[in-house]
């Protein structure tokens, strides 16, 4: 069961993100920057520009905060936390603990906590804060009326520069029968009021893997179906294999290399037809969750009226400076980027503001962008993959530390995973890294810093890491690099020196 739209957001959340009875301001002259969309990119751009003294309008058709707060990272991480708790209770004996006598899963309490967390975090994104920062906030659907004008809720806003940050929405697969039977997406799954008894997840990307594991831990009989032969096909295959093992261990029924070819309803059941290598089977479930990707929100903006080029897959077409084909208009975030992450959206917004308002020449391609899939264990990556380095003609050495060799990971019973750091052969320059660990998302930040600041692996070997921590794995990898420098020649030289001294 899902909640109706009025029940989705508690009063405190709505008060912050779309106050009831809100009256749009009267536009006064031309804005230095009009921002369309108040998700992470739009909110960051509006606040940065306003802080620098620009006259800014922020236009939002729904709720301030965008996917991150309302349907993306925040609600999913909130329920993943509870799912981890249940997994730890289940595995208590592995830690020398006692499994509680009866583990009852209260799904409504899980969702209630999620909403409390949303409300708490929404304070930072509130309309009030934006207004206090001098931003004119408009609610309504924006539409371009010309190269330097938009309309919203019957008002015209003129701008010197504009930023499109309308984000993206979940893709619904064109599977025959799916539209008729209905499916959940990451926009609607957090409205569930009861945990489905049987759930089928379409897609083995980050969203699919995270939610399949979480719902399995809440007790749903969960099936995950992935067209590719591995999960997370963009990640290193060893990382994807560990996730596959983790999902299987949780009891998720895995169908890799499998297509969903049709869906139909039989009584209360949704029947899903699967085909793998020509073999067809049917699975009966209560709910289907589509997690196959996201499509940019470009419709309804009348982009052609402003001379802005776009397409339905790539979204707004921008150059490396995030400028559109209209020199007055920039774009940032999910609506124009391949990597659809909150932190990337915010970083791109800062570039767009600098380039739009201050004649900046900052390039998006110069960013070092980490990302993380919040399964248990997590998978985090930054920089180049080995294949990408090869394509650029860069020879690579990879230094790998298994988490089972990291003391803190062993003491915490979290010894699954690894740290892989790729360096350019013959140097200590870090090209990229992948971490699979319970807290990989936290650990990857040290390596992002190293890549951004040009810190090599030798320098990391000299950084004292607190003991015992799981991040010590990074230091162990750096020390492994240092040991490779101790060639037979240097060993011989060292012996001579020690003998002489």
């Amino acid at each position: 069961m899902t909640a109706g739209p009025d029940e989705r957001f508690p009063r405190a959340l709505l008060a912050n993100l779309r106050p009831p009875g809100w009256v749009n301001p009267e536009p006064a002259g031309s804005y230095a920057l009009v921002v369309i969309g108040a998700g992470p990119a739009g909110l960051t751009a509006a606040r940065d520009a306003a802080a620098l003294g620009a006259k800014v309008a922020l236009v939002e058709r729904s709720l301030i905060g965008g996917d991150r707060l309302n349907i993306g990272c925040v609600p999913s991480k909130a329920i993943i936390r509870t799912a981890r708790l249940y997994a730890e209770m289940r595995d208590a004996e592995d830690f020398g603990g006692q499994v509680p006598g009866r583990i009852a899963i209260g799904f409504s309490e899980v969702m209630e906590r999620m909403r409390r967390v949303q409300a708490r975090i929404s304070r930072g994104s509130s309309v009030q804060r934006s207004s206090e920062a001098g931003i004119d906030v408009y609610f309504g659907a924006a539409r371009f009326a010309g190269p330097d004008t938009i309309t919203v809720a019957g008002q015209s806003l003129r701008f010197k520069k504009a930023l499109i940050a309308t984000g993206a929405r979940p893709l619904e697969p064109p599977t025959p029968g799916l539209a008729e039977t209905g499916c959940l997406t990451n926009e609607t799954v957090f409205n569930l009021t009861e945990c489905p008894r049987r759930l089928l997840v379409m897609g083995g990307g980050p969203v699919g893997c995270e939610l399949a594991q979480a719902f399995r831990r809440f007790g749903a009989q969960t099936v995950i179906v992935q067209t590719d032969p591995t999960f997370l096909p963009k990640e290193e295959r060893d990382a994807a294999q560990i996730i596959s093992d983790a999902l299987a261990r949780d009891g998720v029924e895995i169908h890799l290399n499998t297509d969903v070819v049709a869906v139909r309803r039989e009584g209360a059941d949704k029947i899903v037809d699967l085909v793998s290598d020509g073999d067809r089977i049917s699975v009966a479930v209560d709910e289907i969750l589509a997690g196959i990707g996201r499509a940019p929100n470009v419709e309804g903006l009348d982009l052609d009226a402003a001379g802005i080029r776009w397409d339905t897959e790539a979204g707004i077409l921008v150059d490396d400076f995030l400028r559109t084909s209209n020199r007055l208009v920039y774009a940032a975030g999910d609506v124009c980027l391949e990597h659809k992450f909150t932190h990337t959206a915010e970083a791109s917004a800062r570039i767009a503001v600098a380039n739009a308002l201050f004649l900046g020449r900052r390039r998006f391609s110069r960013l070092t962008i980490p990302w993380c899939t919040y399964t248990d264990p997590e998978i985090a990556h930054v920089g180049l993959y080995v294949g990408e380095a090869w394509d650029r003609g860069i020879p690579v050495r990879t230094f790998t530390i298994l988490m089972h060799d990291v003391d803190r990971a062993v003491t915490d019973g979290e010894a699954e995973g690894f740290v892989k750091i790729h360096v350019r052969q013959g140097t200590d320059r870090i090209l990229g890294a992948t971490i699979v660990a319970r807290h990989a998302g936290e650990m990857i930040n040290g390596l992002s810093l190293a890549i951004t600041a040009g810190i090599g692996l030798r320098a990391l070997a000299r950084v004292i890491h607190t003991y015992p921590t799981q991040a010590e794995a990074i230091k162990l990898a750096a020390e492994a690099y240092e040991r490779t420098r101790l060639t037979p020649f240097w060993k011989a030289l060292s012996k001579v020196w020690l003998a002489w001294s």
């Binding site: 595995d91 004996e93 592995d94 067209t227 590719d228 032969p229 290193e236 295959r237 060893d238 294999q241 560990i242 093992d245 299987a248 261990r249 290399n257 085909v275 290598d277 020509g278 073999d279 080995v386 294949g387 090869w390 394509d391 020879p395 690579v396 050495r397 990879t398 230094f399 790998t400 298994l402 089972h404 060799d405 010894a415 690894f418 892989k420 052969q425 492994a480 690099y481 040991r483 490779t484």
Partner: protein
């Protein structure tokens, strides 16, 4: 009482090699040359096991375990079968485009289990075919026909088709659904596949195809050992059963100042080091008890042993260090490392014999045992019966260690040398 004399290394190896060789006589069909995938009742033939059988017959002749005439007769029966077997896109055919289905009915030779048309297993079959073509070099009608059949079987394989329209090779094809979605990612036993494909006269793979595959390699420093990573040991054995990679290098290995033979030695060290560290706390693992590879296992399921809940698997490619690892060791994999790390492999073999005698039946090693699980003795769970691939790799790698026979034969096989050169290999015996 005086201590019984310690069996010499050579006597020990001879005993195990002969026992493994016996598999191919015990479980083969002399009428068509097909050999069963396993010793279990009703097992179909595996074309890869047939390839190992064809390579083992010369070993049997040279070791005096088989008459040359008998070996030639078995070999010719095999090659005649594949020459005449139906090739088409029909689901019940034996092969298509010169490739063969992975598993065939032992009597009829037709596809079973709706299995895939398998380029890699066809490659292992052809490796045996080419071994026979070099070994049976007499001008007798039988041996002449063997060579003729070998030329035909190798020459008609359409390697280009097996790319499925892409650059690199696909892992298989099925009549109803077409090519499998996946290709070869990362270093694997596919080196031999590419070498044979590159050397084809009629349907050669391009050099770009091989290089595109090598771009998926991952050179890793694990446990302070640098090597071209692949988790299961068989990957470091299979191409090496036929090709002596010592001293010859392609572009990738030149860039790493290494060769694939040395790489297999390092992979052996990584396996042993993993077993010593034994991160999951399995019983038995140690410096002389290692060997994670593709092999049989206790079966899919979850059990609580020693207070820990663990998942167990059936036949699966176990690997180091990323798993899967359920505590199952394949002793054949350790023995097959003999050419690369003879001391370590011999030490492991003696350990298996001393610690787990109930696992070693008539000097033949099973495909797996798991001391962490309950069983009749300290070996715990022991694989029921034998797998042809395990017995084949044991015969060939012991022989390569003892005499280098297979390597010497295959140096004289034109497709091997030509394919290696096209792949960019040079130096060593290719000079």
């Amino acid at each position: 009482m005086p201590e019984p004399p310690v069996e010499s290394d050579d006597a020990l190896l001879d005993r195990f090699q002969r026992a493994a060789f016996g598999y191919f006589l015990d479980y083969g069909n002399p009428a068509n040359g097909l050999v069963a995938d396993t010793s279990r009742d009703g097992a179909p033939a595996s074309i890869a096991v047939v390839g190992f059988a064809l390579s083992c017959y010369p070993v049997g002749v040279e070791r005096g375990w088989m008459r040359r005439a008998d070996a030639a007769a078995r070999t010719l029966a095999t090659l005649r079968f594949f020459r005449a077997a139906p090739q088409s896109d029909e689901p019940e055919a034996t092969g298509h485009k010169g490739f063969y289905y992975h598993f065939l009915d032992m009597a009829t030779g037709r596809r079973v289990w709706r299995c895939e048309l398998s380029p890699i297993d066809t490659t292992l079959l052809l490796a045996g075919v080419l071994t026979a073509a070099v070994y049976f070099d007499l001008d007798t009608p039988i041996e002449t026909e063997i060579r003729g059949c070998a030329d035909l079987l190798y020459g008609r394989v359409d390697w280009q088709w097996a790319r499925g329209g892409g650059i690199t090779l696909r892992q298989g094809w099925k009549p109803k659904s077409g090519f499998l979605h996946y290709g070869w990612e990362g270093y694997s036993e596919a080196t031999l596949l590419y070498v044979l494909g590159l050397a084809s006269s009629a349907f050669p793979l391009s050099v770009e195809s091989f290089e595109a595959w090598t771009k998926t390699y991952q050179w890793e420093n694990l446990y302070d050992i640098e090597f071209l990573y692949a988790g299961p040991l068989f990957i470091h054995h299979f191409s090496h059963a036929w090709i002596d990679f010592a001293g010859i290098r392609d572009r990738f290995m030149r860039g790493k100042n290494c060769d694939y033979f040395e790489n297999s030695r390092r992979a052996t060290l990584v396996q042993r080091e993993y077993a010593r560290r034994n991160p999951h706390g399995f019983r038995g693992y140690g410096k002389d008890c290692w060997g994670l590879t593709a092999g049989d296992g206790p079966g899919a399921g979850t059990l609580k042993i020693d207070g820990r809940t663990r998942r167990y698997f059936g036949y699966v490619a176990r690997g180091v260090p990323y798993g899967p690892d359920d505590g199952t060791i394949d002793p054949c994999a350790a023995v097959a490392s003999l050419p690369f790390a003879p001391d370590l492999a011999l030490s492991a073999l003696r350990h298996f014999c001393a610690q787990y005698p109930e696992m070693v039946r008539d000097s033949r090693l099973p495909s797996g045992f798991n001391p962490s699980l309950p069983g009749a003795g300290p070996a715990g769970w022991v694989c029921d019966g034998y797998f042809g691939l395990d017995q084949g790799i044991v015969v060939l790698m012991i022989e390569n260690h003892r005499s280098g026979l297979i390597w010497q034969l295959m140096r004289r096989s034109p497709p091997i040398a030509a394919g290696l050169r096209r792949a960019g290999f040079g130096g060593g015996w290719l000079s």
